[in-house]
Structures are given as structure tokens and as C-alpha cells.
């Protein structure tokens, strides 16, 4: 790579741990950052300025864009907030019975989805806005991802549930994580064929939603975010983000590294330099030209002194994110899938 990669730290970052970074679905340079300091901040990453900040009464564990002008965020105090980014107006949309861990938007069904430690997923109609149903999960929800009209929920006890957002009457698929340890993060492929799941013990699994034996044969898992010393140090893999164009993904671990993977050729495309502390969250923007990296200590070793929490913006190139020679590989997905994804 002869090109000089440009990377910079966001100004006026949160004062405590970062819980999530999320890019706007349409405006490639707006970024939401939620934090343990009870705020959600909106940044213009190109200008590197903070455009807005709003408060919760408790740490905000996740946030999401509904549309370019509305942010949704859920906090430890069980409140779900909708914030109008044009008028800077707050609305408390509703509550869970315990802290809200995940907030997602499903554009295909036009519904907001929240997952909580009260063992439930709730749907919210963003237009009213009001609650549109509560769906009990087998355990506390740790992570969630939307794949088209399907919702993939990862809970405590290593369980994975696939729901159909158009028909929430029953669970479409009940699975157990193929990894041995706690599920940290699940993100769906942009082509909606499957998902990637990361565990707390340095491992990532690539899984497919189609239950047929043929497709299920293709699933696999690999070790990553481990540092070889005298003993191998195994770090939690906290963050996954997909490149919307190439279907490649980035993972971030508590070792402070960000790796980009090509799931079709089972190759690592690149590794960025080591960040000062754990990677808590990652997000590619809508056109795949930028990646936001939240380097923020996650209390893996308890409440000890640690480097400053910060969010970085990095420009990524095709060389870093595009699968190599896709035609040569026998393991890549069928062409039909590829075109559907594009």
C-alpha cells in the first residue's frame, strides 16, 4: 500500500467509555456515539466537529439512526429515547424492565427494535412512536442484528434466535452459538445470507441462515485477537462491522487491534496498527470509505487506570476491504448470491 492512509481522532469525544458508534444510513459523514457518560453525541466526521449532544439519566448502552434526522438510544435506566436531530427535541418512547442493551433499525419493515437484559425484545413503531410488541427471549439479550426482515438475537447462555420481523408469532430458528464461550457480538451479512458471531475468547464464527445441510456445511470459525507470548493471551472480540459493498467485515478486540476479513476466501485482508486500548465498537459508513473505531477500555480487568477513551475515523481503501481475486477461489459464494448482494 503506497497510499498514505489518513486517520484522525474525533474532537470533543465522550468523557467515559464508548458503547457504540453508528454511521447515518444515508449521510456518509454523520456519526452517533453513545457512552457511559450518559450522553449521545452526533459528529460530522468530515469536519471533525461535534454537532450535537443530548443527555440520558444513565449510561447509554446503544444507539441507532432511524433516519438521518432521528436518533434512538437506550440506557441503563431502562428508558428508550428518540431524539430529533433537527430540533434537538427529546421524546421518551418507552421503557423496558431492565437496561436496554441494543437498539437497531429495520428499514425493510420500518420498525425500531430494542433488546434488553429483561429477557425481551420490543418493537417500536417509529412514526407514532409507540410500542408495537414485546417478545420474550430465553435469556438476557447481549447483541442483536437485523438481516433484511429477519432479526438475529444473541443472548446470555450462548443462545442465538432468529425472528421474522414480519411475523413475530414464533421463533423462526433457535440455535446455540457454535463457539464455546460467551457471545459478544453478532452482525448480519449485508447480503442477508448469514451472520458473523464473535465470542469473549478470541474466536469468530461465520454462520448461514439457510438451515439446509448443504449451506450449513459452509459454516466455519477461526481464532483471532490473540497475542502470542510465553502463554497465548486470548482477548474478547467486542465489535464487528460489515463493509456494505464488499461483504467483508472488520473485527475489533480487547487487544486493541482491528482486523479486516474476507469471509469468502477465509483470509485476513489487513490489520491496522494497535490502538491504545480495547476496541469497543466499529462502524463502516454507508459507502464503505470510512471506518469509525471506538478505542475504549471496557473494564475487562476491572476498574483500573487506562488510556483515554477515544473514537478514531480512518479512511479505508479497496485494497484493505475488497476480497482478493474473487473468481479464483472455489470457496466463494455462488454468483447468484453475489449479484443479489450487490
Amino acid at each position: 500500500m503506497s497510499m498514505v492512509t489518513s486517520e484522525y481522532k474525533l474532537n470533543q469525544g465522550p468523557e467515559d467509555g464508548i458503547t457504540a458508534v453508528k454511521f447515518s444510513p444515508s449521510t456518509a459523514h454523520f456519526l452517533l456515539v453513545s457512552s457511559w457518560d450518559c450522553t449521545v453525541r452526533l459528529y460530522d466526521v468530515v469536519a471533525n466537529t461535534m454537532r450535537m449532544k443530548y443527555q440520558h439519566t444513565a449510561p447509554v448502552l446503544d444507539c441507532a439512526f432511524y433516519d438521518p434526522t432521528h436518533a434512538w438510544s437506550g440506557d441503563l435506566d431502562t428508558n428508550l429515547k428518540m431524539h430529533d436531530l433537527n430540533t434537538d427535541q427529546d421524546t421518551i418512547v418507552g421503557k423496558h424492565d431492565a437496561a436496554i442493551r441494543c437498539v437497531e433499525h429495520c428499514p425493510e419493515v420500518n420498525v425500531m427494535v430494542t433488546g434488553s437484559w429483561d429477557r425481551s425484545v420490543r418493537l417500536w413503531d417509529p412514526r407514532a412512536p409507540c410500542n408495537a410488541g414485546t417478545f420474550t427471549q430465553p435469556d438476557r439479550v447481549y447483541t442483536m442484528s437485523v438481516a433484511g426482515d429477519r432479526l438475529i438475537v444473541g443472548t446470555a447462555g450462548r443462545r442465538v434466535l432468529v425472528w421474522d420481523l414480519r411475523n413475530m408469532g414464533y421463533v423462526q430458528q433457535r440455535r446455540e452459538s457454535s463457539l464455546k464461550f460467551q457471545t459478544r457480538c453478532i452482525r448480519a451479512f449485508p447480503n442477508k445470507q448469514g451472520y458473523v458471531l464473535s465470542s469473549i475468547e478470541g474466536r469468530v464464527a461465520v454462520e448461514y441462515l439457510d438451515p439446509s445441510v448443504e449451506v450449513q456445511k459452509k459454516k466455519y470459525a477461526f481464532k483471532c485477537h490473540r497475542l502470542k507470548d510465553v502463554v497465548e493471551q486470548v482477548y474478547p472480540v467486542n465489535a464487528i462491522s460489515f463493509h456494505s459493498v464488499h461483504n467483508t467485515f472488520a473485527t475489533g478486540g480487547s487487544d486493541g487491534f482491528v482486523n479486516i476479513w474476507d469471509p469468502f476466501n477465509k483470509k485476513r485482508l489487513c490489520q491496522f496498527h494497535r490502538y491504545p486500548t480495547s476496541i469497543a465498537s466499529l462502524a463502516f459508513n454507508s459507502d464503505g470509505g470510512l471506518i469509525a473505531i471506538a478505542a475504549s477500555y471496557m473494564h475487562e480487568m476491572g476498574d483500573i487506570s487506562h488510556p483515554e477513551d477515544a473514537a478514531y475515523i480512518r479512511q479505508v481503501t479497496d485494497a484493505e476491504t475488497k476480497p482478493n481475486a474473487p473468481s479464483a477461489s472455489p470457496r466463494r459464494w455462488p454468483d447468484a448470491d453475489k449479484t443479489a448482494a450487490d
Binding site: L76, V231, M301, G302
Partner: protein
């Protein structure tokens, strides 16, 4: 109000496992009221509170939390079973402090061990392990539990030895130990006596007994019945109860030693194996599926005709009782609903395999070995997060949950220091 609650309790009695300590009525009612569909939020919340306390406790008596958590679980999950997580909890609590010498004679810790042993199959092994580790060797309850287990296996001699060992160690409370020891000795001698009685019972004179439903010989014109109604006074027992004669004899010989016959479990277990000849019993229970006759068409089955020479071919009809024996209505119609046994779900209630490779004791030893190895840091891998905290108790915690618990704790303690804070907090809400 109280009545309705009582009924609720009566209805699910069979689902309540007995506890030695007894059950807290209000906890029981709470537990039963939610047992219909999953766990109630209140119970989940309490459990979560215990789980976080397990992780965040930083006093000098961590066993206290485990002890309270386990006692709470016993009360709140009256059915025992998997959802209570009791055996996991007990195993964790017990293995966690095997190296903590200060707990070895703690009655709570010994109690947990005994409870744990009662959840295992090889209880005696567990007790021997405890002895070898020096856990509970000054506690009377340990010896009592051990001896009880031996006694249940019929080994009075060994049970006695265990008590003697306990007495030698001056286990506390000593009077309780002595009391149980005396009781054991009493039971042992009584059993020995019973055995002697059984062997010489033939020598005793047989006392004739009255027979029920027998016809008596009458005397005189008025056909008066004699005062002594046994032995020779009986005209016949055939009327109606001819088949009863055998059981009567059997009974009279059994009860001949004129003592009150005490129900003996060991004997009783042998009884059902002897088939009793009682022709008018209700049809056999529907349990014996393999003996059931398949349903057939009856319309084209021919009755066998009598032979030309009268009834010679027919067997003589058995003597029918002259009265209708009473049969429980519920027994009368065994349900014949078709019941397919699907092979794939047939193993739902498979028997627990007694000699599985992974016995609790093995796990214990494994745990100890790992701890020792961990000290020498031979582990090929090292987890770079507080694994101990996330995975203790019965459920896992995520890093965020742990941090949230700490955050809330910190906030609460801050609010306690400056009580003005929360008021302003609610205003901003």
C-alpha cells in the same frame, strides 16, 4: 383469602420437594403462583441480585452470599429440578472453598457439602473425600449425614463406626451426635431383635382368628350363632369367598405371634413379586402396553359352536362370586387412547446413567488439579478479562452487566452520602 391460598398449595403438593428445614409458607406461595409459565420477573430479579452480589462481594465472608443464595433457591424452586440450578450452585460453592481452611469447620460450609452430596449419586465417596480433605471433621452434622447414608445402605456396623469416629473427634454439637448415635443403636438392636423373632415365631401357639364373611354353624331351633366364632364354629368359607381361604391362612400364620405387625419396607418390596390370585380385580392398568391386544374387527369373527354332544367341549365355568365386587370407577375404564411412541423423543426420560465418566468427585479432583497447575502457570492460554467474575454463579455476566452493577452500586453509595442528589435527579426526569 387465606383459604384460597391454602387450596393452591394443596393442589400442587406433589410438586414440592420436602426440605429438612421446612419451607417458608410465603416463599412457597410465591413460588407456586408463578410456576405455571416460566419464572416471574420478581424471582428473576432476585436471582439476578444474588448473582451480582456473588460477583461484587468484597467483604471477608464470601460464603455468606453463597449460603443465602442456595437457601433462597431451595425455597423458591420447590420442585427442585434443573431450573433451580441447585446442583450447579452447590458444586460451585463447594469447589470454590476447598482450599479455604477457615471454612472447613464452618457449619454452613459443611451443610453445603452435605446438601451437595445428597445431589450426587456416590454420596459415600463424597463423604470420604470430605474426611480426607478435613472438611467438617469437627461437625456433628457431617458424621450424622454420613452414618445415615451408611444406614440406608443397611450397613449398621459402619454407621456405628462413623459415629464413634465423630465422638472421638469431639464433633460439635456433641450431645446431638450422641443422641443420633443412641437412636442408631436402638434401631440396630430393634432390627436384630426382629430378625430373631422371625426365626423362632413358629414355636408360638397359634391363636385362631375370626374369618370375615364366613358362614357359621348354627345351634338349636332358633339357629343361634355360637359365641366363639373361630375354628370349628365355621360352617364353610366357600360361600362367596372360597378363594379368600388362602389369604386368610397366610395372614393367620403371619400374625400368629400376636404382636402388632409393623409395616416393613424391606419385606414389602418382596411382596409384589408374588402374584396374588384375585380373579375379579379391575383390568390391569394401561401401563403394560406391550401386553395389550391390538384393536381388531369383531364383525366377522365367528363364535365357536357347541359340539353336537352337549357341553363336553366347554370348560366348566369358574365359580362366580355371588356378589358384585366393588371396583373403583376410575379403574373401570382404562384409557385406550392411541399412544404412539415416537422414537426420536423416546429418550426424554432416559435413566440417569450411574457410571458416567464425569462424576462429581472427578470434577472436584480435576478442579483441584487445575488450581494447582494454574499456580505454576502452565496454561497454554490466558484469558485477558476477568473470567472468574463473568462465569461464577449459575449464569454468565457480560462485561457491560458487571460494569453496570458497579456503576449502580457506586451511584447508590454516592446518593447515600449526599441525599440531596436524588431529589434533583428526579426533577430532571
Amino acid at each position: 383469602m387465606a383459604e384460597g391460598e391454602d387450596v393452591e398449595w394443596e393442589l400442587c403438593k406433589e410438586n414440592i420437594q420436602p426440605l429438612r428445614r421446612g419451607r417458608n409458607m410465603s416463599a412457597l406461595l410465591q413460588a407456586l403462583s408463578q410456576s405455571k409459565d416460566g419464572l416471574s420477573p420478581a424471582i428473576l430479579q432476585q436471582r439476578q441480585a444474588f448473582e451480582s452480589e456473588l460477583r461484587l462481594y468484597n467483604g471477608d465472608d464470601p460464603l455468606d452470599v453463597w449460603d443465602r443464595y442456595i437457601k433462597w433457591s431451595e425455597q423458591m424452586f420447590p420442585r427442585g429440578g434443573k431450573e433451580s440450578n441447585l446442583s450447579t450452585l452447590l458444586e460451585q460453592a463447594v469447589t470454590r472453598y476447598t482450599d479455604e481452611k477457615k471454612y472447613h469447620d464452618d457449619p454452613r460450609y459443611v451443610d453445603l457439602w452435605i446438601k451437595y452430596a445428597q445431589h450426587c449419586l456416590q454420596r459415600l465417596d463424597i463423604y470420604r473425600y470430605m474426611k480426607a480433605q478435613g472438611i467438617g471433621i469437627t461437625q456433628a452434622s457431617f458424621y450424622i449425614a454420613w452414618a445415615e447414608e451408611l444406614e440406608n445402605g443397611g450397613n449398621f456396623l459402619k454407621a456405628d463406626l462413623i459415629f464413634q469416629e465423630g465422638l472421638r473427634m469431639l464433633a460439635q454439637p456433641l450431645d446431638r451426635l450422641q443422641q443420633f448415635h443412641r437412636l442408631l443403636q436402638a434401631r440396630a438392636s430393634r432390627q436384630a431383635m426382629n430378625k430373631v423373632d422371625d426365626s423362632d415365631s413358629d414355636d408360638e401357639t397359634k391363636q385362631p382368628e375370626r374369618v370375615s364373611l364366613a358362614e357359621l354353624k348354627t345351634r338349636g331351633k332358633k339357629a343361634a350363632v355360637p359365641i366363639v366364632r373361630t375354628g370349628a364354629a365355621i360352617k364353610s368359607v366357600s360361600r362367596g369367598l372360597s378363594l379368600r381361604a388362602a389369604p386368610v391362612e397366610e395372614r393367620s400364620s403371619q400374625s400368629s405371634n400376636s404382636k402388632v405387625v409393623i409395616f416393613d419396607e424391606n419385606k414389602a418390596s418382596a411382596v409384589p413379586s408374588e402374584p396374588k390370585f384375585e380373579p375379579w380385580l379391575a383390568p390391569p392398568p394401561a401401563r403394560a402396553k406391550e401386553n395389550e391386544k391390538a384393536v381388531e374387527k369383531w364383525c366377522d369373527v365367528k363364535m365357536r359352536q357347541k359340539s353336537k354332544f352337549g357341553n363336553a367341549l366347554m370348560a366348566a365355568p369358574p365359580p362366580k362370586p355371588t356378589f358384585q365386587p366393588f371396583v373403583d370407577e376410575s379403574d373401570e375404564t382404562p384409557k385406550m387412547t392411541p399412544c404412539k411412541i415416537i422414537p426420536t423423543v423416546n429418550n426424554i426420560l432416559s435413566a440417569r446413567k450411574p457410571c458416567r465418566d464425569d462424576t462429581p468427585l472427578k470434577r472436584l479432583l480435576e478442579h483441584q488439579r487445575q488450581q494447582k497447575e494454574g499456580e505454576t502457570s502452565k496454561d497454554p492460554e490466558k484469558s485477558m478479562y476477568c473470567k472468574e467474575l463473568l462465569f461464577s454463579g449459575t449464569t454468565e455476566f457480560s462485561l457491560e452487566e458487571l460494569r453496570a452493577e458497579l456503576y449502580i452500586k457506586k451511584k447508590n453509595s454516592q446518593a447515600a452520602v449526599c441525599p440531596g442528589e436524588p431529589a434533583t435527579d428526579t426533577e430532571t426526569k
